[in-house]
């Protein structure tokens, strides 16, 4: 129907209804019409916008080879001739959020089209790609799908109608970090003095521009003599003893465990497992040393490359675990490592 705007939807293997972790390696493919959450989105959009096709790609496929995978996805998107592209919503799924962000960037730069999506603010996709899409703020899980779809439909409608999109606060999307010049009734000098007076009177005030926090850490000094060094292992891949005695959660871990490596040359598969809920556990359960590399560390220790492996390793689950909690785990672990005179750490993540 002439005049109807064409929307192309990008989804991962799970929301694209292909499968779970076991299908995370699938290359991109296109399907006609809406799929999964696209169906709800189409219903919310009504008649003026047509979801003409859905491009589905495995989260591992695109994250492990973005240089080739993103162009493949773009080829499929281009073939559908969209007026607008929607990605996700990805909620707090890290790999999916990154995938959505990469696609948003490519669509934005190569096709010069608007992109709409939805993510939880802590999703790494936001950190890296926030400026390339209007991402509505969602909760941490797909339980918020209906609300997310509704909010996305609203922004999509406005964009295809050529309407102005207001500020993040007004419209409910995550700030994109882009600056827009606007006319204000008062001059800057007046506003600044007004703010200062409020501050002096200890009245509430709102900054016009939050100062960016560049949270960089000065690198710790390198180890001078590795042959004398004590090294500790940590993993966020969720490798724990089989019974998970500390009940580490498979998502949003609330704590970490420390496990004794004394006398062990490798992690036997019968005694260890992964409890991380965010990746296919098959390979880690077959051989936990693929995530917590005890066997190889013992070889290097025996060869004298370093002096000694710390007899405890620390494990938690990185799946959806909050930044603040993870930082606290590490601060606590650092106290123990300093007392034990550990010289360096190798931390493995999945």
């Amino acid at each position: 129907m002439p005049g109807k705007k064409r929307l192309v939807h990008y989804l991962n293997q799970f929301f694209g209804q292909i499968g779970g972790e076991e299908e995370a390696d699938i290359p991109p493919r296109a399907k006609t019409g809406p799929v999964g959450p696209g169906v709800a989105l189409q219903a919310a959009l009504g008649d003026s916008v047509d979801i003409v096709g859905t491009v589905i790609c495995g989260d591992n496929y695109i994250n492990e080879r973005p240089g080739t995978a993103v162009p493949e996805v773009m080829k499929q998107i281009r073939a559908l001739s969209p007026d607008i592209v929607v990605v996700g919503p990805a909620f707090n799924a890290g790999r999916y959020g990154l995938a959505c962000g990469m696609v948003a960037k490519a669509v934005s730069e190569e096709l010069n089209l608007p992109v709409v999506g939805g993510m939880f603010p802590e999703n790494p996709g936001i950190e890296l790609y926030r400026q390339y899409l209007y991402a509505v703020e969602t909760g941490g899980s797909a339980a918020g799908m209906r609300k997310a779809v509704g909010a996305m439909a609203e922004i999509i409608r406005r964009l295809v109608n050529g309407e102005e999109i207001g500020t993040p606060e007004e419209e409910g999307y995550i700030p994109r970090g882009l600056r827009k010049n606007v006319w204000h009734q008062q001059r800057g000098a007046e506003r600044a003095v007004g703010m200062l007076l409020k501050k002096i009177r200890q009245e509430p005030l709102a900054t016009e521009y939050p100062m960016p926090r560049y949270d960089r850490v000065t690198p710790a000094p390198p180890i001078q003599d590795m042959s004398q060094a004590k090294i500790a292992l940590i993993t966020t891949g969720g490798i724990v003893p089989s019974e998970n005695p500390d009940r580490i959660e498979s998502s949003s871990a609330s704590h970490y465990g420390r496990y004794n490596l004394y006398g062990m040359d490798r992690l036997p598969a019968e005694e260890f497992q992964t409890v991380h809920g965010g990746y296919d556990p098959t390979y880690a359960n077959q051989d936990p040393n693929r995530v917590l590399p005890l066997d190889a560390m013992r070889i290097l220790e025996r060869d004298g490359v370093f002096q000694r492996l710390y007899h405890y390793y620390f494990a938690t689950v990185g799946n959806g675990t909050s930044v603040a909690k993870a930082a606290r785990f590490a601060t606590d672990i650092a106290v123990e490592l300093k007392e034990a005179k550990v010289d360096g750490v190798i931390l493995t993540s999945t």
């Binding site: 972790e21 591992n60 994250n63 492990e64 890290g94 790999r95 990154l98 790494p124 950190e127 890296l128 850490v217 000065t218 690198p219 710790a220 000094p221 390198p222 180890i223 001078q224 590795m226 042959s227 060094a229 090294i231 966020t236 990746y279 556990p281 098959t282 390979y283 880690a284 077959q286 051989d287 040393n289 693929r290 995530v291 590399p293 066997d295 190889a296 560390m297 070889i299 290097l300 060869d303 004298g304 490359v305 993870a326 930082a327 785990f329 590490a330 601060t331 650092a334 106290v335 490592l337 300093k338 550990v342 010289d343 360096g344 750490v345 190798i346 931390l347 493995t348 993540s349 999945t350």
Partner: protein
């Protein structure tokens, strides 16, 4: 987590697959891993080949702990200096 360790003065290397996350969040010493479900392994290879792969990744990581870095740095396998190779061979 590696940032907190470094803040406490302990050099730390992050072996991870999605390097962009680690770089943006600001880990200073990063070693790219093999794949998300098996960062230090390659199913399909023999156990010996996998252990050899693991040794290479860990040697790179240990190298990273000995390197002076100025900010988020990806430590690649080829950055091992010849002198260091000799040092390790002598042990």
């Amino acid at each position: 987590m590696v940032k907190q360790l470094e803040k406490a003065g302990i050099p730390a290397v992050h072996i991870c697959t999605i390097v962009p996350i680690s770089m943006t969040v600001g880990a200073n010493r990063i070693v790219p891993a093999v794949a998300i479900p098996h960062p230090l392994g390659r199913p399909g290879e023999s156990v010996e080949e996998e252990v050899e792969l693991r040794l290479q990744l860990l040697r790179t990581a240990l190298d990273g702990l000995q390197q002076e870095v100025e900010g988020p740095t990806v430590i690649e396998r080829e950055t091992r200096t010849p002198e260091r190779k000799v040092l390790n061979a002598a042990k």
